[in-house]
Amino acid sequence: MDVEALLRKLDDDAPCAPTATGYWAAWPDLDVRAMARLMRENVVRLVTITAVPEAGDALRIIYHWDADGELLNLSTTVMSGHVPTISDIVPGADWVEREIHDYYGLEFDGRSTTPPLMLREGDPPGLFARTRQQGNEADPARTAHAAIAVEEGEPR
């Protein structure tokens, strides 16, 4: 499969060379549904979707695809807490969208329902995001980042 030609159908300025971990591209205004339709038409498999918290309420959403063994990592940044669903186009996205809703409270617009996957019925979504909002005292990761000084060759 000509991965570069495929990516150019999404954007003329798409990256044309793979890195050591596949192709990476980020668009602030990525049309995720158009991307999903393009991938489905070209028999490209959805590997998974990753949500990465960024500064403030921003959430970077990375769609990982497999195109004949090439890994495509295509991302967009969501500020509004909403992104269109692709689960009606790619059924394999159903569980991962529900999981991201569980962890980060991201709403996937267009779904009839988003039942919890890892959480139980009635649990509020956004389990991981809530810990983050509670600040450094409630989040050992932030204090760990600041407190541990290590040097090359030392246990980390």
């Binding site: 990465v52 497999d66 991962v96 760990a144 246990p155 980390r156």
Partner: protein, 358 residues
């Protein structure tokens, strides 16, 4: 009104806690849904709060069967971000451990499947063979479950007695090809229970992103060891067994054939392993960056995404296991089948809820 039969989350017929809810007309399943999350431990959240060294031990416990895969994935992601080169010998050792893990996983699954079919003597044969694989892993690593073999930049232990590994693998290969495969693929009892049961079409497998032996039994040729080779796989010969039928029997045949391929890979790796170091510095620093990596675990492709900000604690660890994409296909296979075949159908994907729920 059609009866709805809830099975689980805690039920004698289920090895792990999950729930299958089936609607039936008589004994025929007309609808099915799967509920998971009963094993949810928040491992991704935990991994983003522990150091890289602590994460190796944590992620090894994502799964009790494919534990080695998770430390391999995390190590590979760190290696990509830090630009670490893995010595050739360590790459071969990683292949040996990964294939031994596939052997014990497939033999465990084959034993469980035989038990569900009601074939007790074959169950004993499978578990007897699996015990020999566990002995190999214990001989190399000192452990039977969590082997603690991988670290960023290499492996922790060398293979000091390659002759013993080869002898055990050849015994497994001989018994598998002479006894296990002929019975599992030709016995009338097995065929009656498995042929034409729980069919997953190629299109459905692709649309749901199914991976591993499940996908390969539905006609998809994907195998990360072949399509995106890692470690020493590109230097070794092996076949990727594929079947088109998409039924339970096809999954049995694919896994049984993969047992022979794993034996073949271990033999080649042990015989052609170069001499040399097995790892670099024990505690390499990890600069800011991100990586996504994949390997072919016994149940199929595992995916990790790792992001670092240059400190000793990763900012994001994402783990996608094969069961997470394979399990949603169970309702597709179950509808139209008899409820008595449901345990075998769900077991035929070799589900791991510990992996799935993390």
């Amino acid at each position: 009104m059609s009866p709805v039969v809830p099975i689980g989350p805690f039920h004698p017929a289920l090895e792990e806690p999950y729930k299958v809810e089936v609607t039936c007309e008589g004994e025929r399943i007309t609808d099915a849904s799967v509920v998971v999350g009963f094993n949810f431990r928040g491992i991704e959240w935990l991994a983003e709060r522990k150091s890289y060294t602590q994460d190796i031990a944590l992620l090894e416990r994502v799964c009790g069967i494919c534990s080695n895969v998770h430390t391999l994935m995390f190590s590979r992601a760190v290696e990509k971000i830090a630009g670490l080169e893995v010595p050739d010998r360590a790459q071969y050792i990683r292949v040996v451990i990964a294939e031994a893990e596939r052997l014990h996983s497939h033999l465990l699954w084959a034993g469980v499947a035989c038990n569900l079919i009601g074939f007790e003597t074959l169950f004993m044969t499978c578990f007897s063979l699996r015990e020999q694989v566990m002995d190999i892993l214990e001989r190399i690593s000192g452990n039977r479950v969590n082997y603690a073999m991988n670290r960023p930049g290499g492996v922790n232990r060398d293979i000091s007695d390659p002759g013993a590994v080869l002898a055990a693998v050849r015994t497994i290969e001989k018994t598998t090809s002479g006894k296990l495969i002929p019975i599992m693929t030709g016995d009338p009892t097995v065929r009656a229970r498995c042929a034409g049961v729980g069919v997953l079409s190629r299109d459905d497998a692709l649309a749901h992103g199914a991976v591993g032996p499940l996908a390969r039994a539905s006609g998809l040729t994907q195998d990360i060891r072949r399509s995106a080779p890692y470690e020493a796989y590109d230097k070794l010969d092996f076949d990727v067994p594929v079947r088109d039928e998409g039924d339970v029997l096809a999954r049995i045949v694919v896994r049984a054939s993969e047992i022979l391929q794993s034996c073949r890979l271990i033999e080649q790796a042990v015989e052609t392993m170069p001499a040399g170091p097995i790892g670099g510095p024990l505690y390499p620093s990890v600069p800011a960056g991100e990586a996504s990596v994949r390997v072919e675990a016994p149940r199929g492709e595992v995916f990790y995404y790792l992001a670092s900000d240059g400190t000793d604690v990763p900012v994001r660890v994402r783990v996608r296991t094969p069961t997470f994409v394979n399990m949603p296909t169970v309702p597709l296979m179950a509808v139209g089948e008899s409820i008595s075949d449901l345990p075998l159908i769900q077991a035929s994907i070799d589900p791991c809820y510990s992996c799935n729920d993390r």
